[in-house]
Symmetry: C2
Subunit: 202 residues, 2 copies
């Protein structure tokens, strides 16, 4: 006896809605994207959108829910290794690479707009941010211990600024220009031990 619902199919439908919506939200914004448009883009009717999602916000949230496991995976992948700064820069490359894509830029901006108005979304994003920050903090600390990175920096604050810098790159998305080389330069110089300036602590 077949089950009433095929979970695989349900997931596929949800994903279709989610990814069609992501494109629309990125280009038109959340408020100017109608449920009917999402439905059309996903190949079903407007009523069905509300069968798979409680409301429009839930559709928006679903876009970012996939990021959490992906972030965990990325952090784990860069956690080991003998070169902490190298690992940080590799993470920066991964995080900042999509900044070239205007669609990624658009969805980040939309996220910034929506996050104040949706507590559930705040939780999802806070988790993802924390995972990435945690990975960066650990690497900064290791870099400081090995003398490559400036020991004066507070690791948590430094990690937050790395995320800031990367996010800044998203704000001027230019498909023609790979932001990663400059991002690497900025972050590497930001973190590194001052060449000779002796910080005269007693």
């Amino acid at each position: 006896m077949a089950r009433t619902v095929d979970p695989e199919r349900t997931r596929a439908r949800r994903d279709a809605i989610s990814s069609a919506a992501a494109d629309l939200f990125a280009t038109k914004g959340f408020d100017h994207t109608t449920a009917a448009e999402i439905a059309r883009a996903a190949g079903l009717s407007s009523g069905s959108v509300f069968y798979y999602f409680a409301d429009k916000r839930a559709v928006f949230r679903s876009i970012f829910e996939a990021d959490l496991p992906a972030s965990r995976e990325m952090v784990a992948r860069h956690a080991e290794g003998t070169d902490p700064l190298g690992s940080i820069l590799a993470m920066v490359d991964e995080l900042g690479g999509p900044a070239q894509d205007p669609s990624a830029s658009g969805i980040l901006i939309e996220l910034l707009r929506q996050i104040d108005h949706d507590v559930q979304l705040q939780i999802v994003i806070a988790q993802t941010t924390e995972v990435i920050r945690g990975g960066l903090v650990a690497l900064v600390e290791r870099g400081q211990a090995s003398g490559v990175l400036d020991p004066e920096l507070d690791p948590t604050e430094a990690a937050a600024w790395i995320q800031n810098i990367v996010d800044g790159a998203f704000l001027s998305a230019d498909p023609e220009r790979d932001p990663r080389p400059m991002l690497r330069r900025i972050v590497a110089r930001f973190l590194s031990t001052p060449p000779s300036t002796q910080g005269g602590n007693s």
Copy 2:
């Protein structure tokens, strides 16, 4: 005989609407701020908003129109001086200082969202951005000429990245934390001549 319109009064009313709207747009967003709310906050009726402005977008634009002369003034103020890097950092301080203010952060995010949908707004912002960029480019070039700043950097690209970094600071507005010291560090290190690394060109 008094003139029918008192230009001074008209300007005052427009400013009242503009600044009341800025607060609302920053916290609630453009789409969720109604003309009636703006009117109430400015102390007049909803119909009057459309007497002073052609439409809601024009109200939003007016917020940024004041930035252009202010930017010219700031650039002029930092154009002279014997210490180009110092001048750049002073500009970064001025540009990034408001990042602490959640309202400034909110309005920047809203700007990013609206700019795609309003050509007139694009023009206003492009002009302001150009003025600031121009000021930074000149200072970078002078710093390079005097050997303080890395000659390998393309001045225009470097200026654009300074603006990116500053904007990034706005994305995590924290009233408790002054972003300026870190911004100065990041920008100074980003621009400065590499300590000894000889770039072996030929």
